[in-house]
């Protein structure tokens, strides 16, 4: 008994993908602004040698100068051009935050999904390890891991990533437990879907929403962690610039040149805001029930 019709694939109205992106950008100004800011930032990072008017390491006698035509954002305590250092520090800061979050999710996500999906003793074991890691103050843990791995930006961000992972694991674990009990998961199981496919097709897409928001928050947190670790001398090594390190240096001169802190501080703040803004908008955009019907 074949009910298959002969001939071509029957057309159905297809969703319009390209216009959807433009509609999203038009509807959400904050997301559009965040995206433009981040694109500019990445562009400036890639083209730092051409964007920056000076070498970030070039010193002059003109120290702690206020902004002027020659030095757009002034100079620091060694007479280096702040704008040039900011531009050259951007790649390090972006690399640091992305690396930390990547490591955090790639450790946290699998363990969290495993614990949430399998339950039982796996869940108990993973949860206790998570609790143990979370019981250590994060910065102390990061310092300890950096100490073990060796000083440097990459190692310190691996440390930050490891510190991030238990929080992410705990979040995805709870989400997985919720989604695992949904009827559509049961339905997929009666179709004979294998467990790995079930996790990838149904559980992850439905559990991931809070993770997306959390990741954008963590990108901002990683930026600050990079600053802290560089401040402590565990991250980017002088004289190479990073935003955190610039902030730490400016902090030392807070009483005689408070304006020094504005440039790196605002750079960190706006980047963090852009990450958050984009993440929040992305989350609601990925949720079909939230999308305005057009």
């Amino acid at each position: 008994m074949s009910v298959l019709s002969e001939g071509a694939v029957r057309p159905v109205p297809a969703p319009r993908r390209r216009s959807r992106f433009m509609a999203w950008m038009r509807a959400d100004t904050r997301a559009a602004a965040s995206l433009v800011f981040l694109i500019l930032l990445v562009g400036a990072s890639l083209l730092a040698n051409w964007v920056a008017p000076y070498s970030p390491l070039e010193q002059s006698m003109d120290i702690l100068a206020p902004p002027s035509a020659a030095h757009l954002l002034g100079t620091d305590d060694l007479g280096r051009d702040v704008f040039s250092r900011l531009v050259h520090g951007a790649p390090a800061s972006l690399y640091a935050s992305v690396l930390a979050v990547l490591i955090g999710t790639s450790i946290g996500l699998p363990f969290g999904v495993l614990a949430g999906y399998l339950g039982g003793w796996v869940d108990t074991a993973v949860s206790r390890v998570i609790d143990t890691i979370l019981s250590c103050p994060s910065i102390v843990l990061a310092i300890a891991v950096t100490g073990a791995l060796g000083i440097g930006l990459t190692n310190s961000m691996i440390a930050v990533g490891i510190v991030f992972s238990p929080g992410l694991a705990r979040l995805i674990r709870v989400q997985t437990m919720i989604v695992k009990g949904e009827l559509y998961v049961d339905a997929a199981r009666t179709f004979g879907m294998s467990t790995p496919r079930l996790v990838l097709r149904h559980i992850l897409p439905n559990a991931i929403q809070p993770i997306i928001v959390q990741v954008t928050l963590l990108l901002a947190t990683a930026l600050l962690a990079e600053a802290s670790l560089s401040f402590l001398g565990l991250g980017v090594q002088p004289p190479h610039p990073s935003w955190g390190q610039m902030l730490a240096r400016a902090y030392a001169y807070m009483e005689i040149a408070p304006a020094q802190m504005y440039a790196p501080g605002l750079a960190i703040m706006f980047t963090a805001l852009a990450f958050n803004g984009l993440g929040e908008s992305l989350r609601s955009q990925l949720d079909p029930t939230r999308r305005r019907s057009d």
Binding site: V3, L4, S5, A8, V9, R10, V12, P13, A14, P15, E182, L183, Y184, D186, A187, A188, R189, T190, F191, G192, M193, S194, R197, R201, H202, P205, N206, D287, P288, T289, S293
Partner: protein, 348 residues
């Protein structure tokens, strides 16, 4: 073909489904249930909330593993298969859930949801899957325009049609309808029930129809099992069970069904159940229904009632089945009794 007609498509043998609860106790949601479902019949399972009917239905489609006894699918023990074989085998045994909203992944378009079983099976080419999905949508009365919509854009009845189209793509032999119409409007209920009947004739389906609504189950089922607190208390042909109930619980269920008659035309024949459903963690001794039974005797607390067959194929788990002065379906239901057929009327 002849051998298949005599082999039950689902054979449930002394099955129990137990869940551990706190302090080492177990909740026996299903406790020692045996029944056979024959190919192409509609088997109704009725009981109130907490009677274990949904758990039994989930066990039939291998969503719960029986803690005791076994369930055979056309003579095959699904848990004796390798996991790969089980995934293949279970495609023939599908379920339609009460809440069509929760049964569809909110992130998948309707077309994707309907195609999913075929994508998992991986037997047809992609254009064939697409075409069959669209055909099934049309077969269950959905316009193909819905294909690229998301579940939240559809009504409950439409979503239930999507769920039906989805399981039909697998050409199943058995479909467990777990309260499949309870969440829908009354007018939609009748449409969906009629659709079920048409599809049964067209695809040669077997249904296990789980519901708390006796009116629905009596009209669509060939045979009925009445569940109470994890056990079956009465089993038989639909007209026998509804016409001459053998168990006091069935009588009470019949009586609880609303009658579409003005009060002065209704008789005084009402049997009101007293009290709450006892806890399935600590069920009453002897007959489980004795705490609410109007005919309760001392023996009911002492020994579990054996099965007593009042007429061939109609049995009740009651010490006094066939001897009690119970009301017949006709007395309880002046409108319905005498006409239990396969037709479905609106306004059940």
């Amino acid at each position: 073909m002849n051998a298949r007609a005599t082999t039950p498509i689902v054979s449930i043998d002394d099955v129990g489904v137990h869940f551990p609860v706190s302090r080492g106790r177990t909740l026996k949601a299903v406790d020692g249930v045996s029944l056979d479902v024959m190919p192409r019949e509609t088997f109704g399972i009725i009981g109130e909330s907490g009677s274990g009917k949904t758990t039994l239905g989930r066990a039939v489609v291998c969503l719960e593993k029986p803690s005791a006894g076994r369930i055979l699918h056309a003579g095959i023990d699904p848990y004796g298969l390798s996991s790969r074989e089980l995934r293949r085998h279970r495609r023939g045994y599908q379920v339609i859930f009460q809440d069509p909203n929760a049964a569809l992944d909110p992130r998948m378009t309707i077309l994707k949801s309907i195609r999913e079983p075929m994508d998992v099976a991986g037997e047809l080419t992609v254009p064939e899957r697409h075409n069959r999905a669209i055909e099934m949508m049309e077969r269950v009365g959905l316009s193909p325009d819905f294909a690229s919509r998301y579940p939240h854009e559809l009504s409950g009845g439409q979503k239930q049609r999507v769920c039906i189209a989805r399981v039909l793509t697998l050409r199943p032999e058995l479909i467990v309808c777990d309260e499949a119409v309870s969440a829908l409007d009354v007018s939609i209920q009748a449409d969906i029930l009629n659709l079920f009947a048409e599809l049964q004739a067209e695809f040669g389906l077997t249904y296990i129809f789980i519901t708390h609504n006796l009116g629905v189950v009596a009209h669509v089922s060939d045979r009925i099992a009445v569940m109470y607190l994890g056990r079956i208390v009465e089993i038989g042909r639909a007209e026998d069970v509804v016409g001459t109930p053998g168990h006091p619980y069935t009588e009470a269920l019949l009586s609880a069904e609303p009658v579409a008659l003005p009060a002065h035309l209704r008789g005084q024949n009402r049997v009101m159940l007293q009290g709450e459903l006892p806890s399935p963690i600590a069920p009453p001794s002897g007959c489980r229904f004795r705490t609410r039974c109007r005919f309760v005797q001392p023996i009911c607390a002492q020994t579990e009632p054996p099965w007593r067959e009042t007429t061939p194929g109609h049995a009740s788990a009651c010490h006094f089945a066939g001897e009690l002065p119970m009301m017949s379906g006709a007395e309880l239901h002046p409108l319905k009794a005498g006409q239990p057929g396969r037709t479905v009327e609106t306004g059940l």
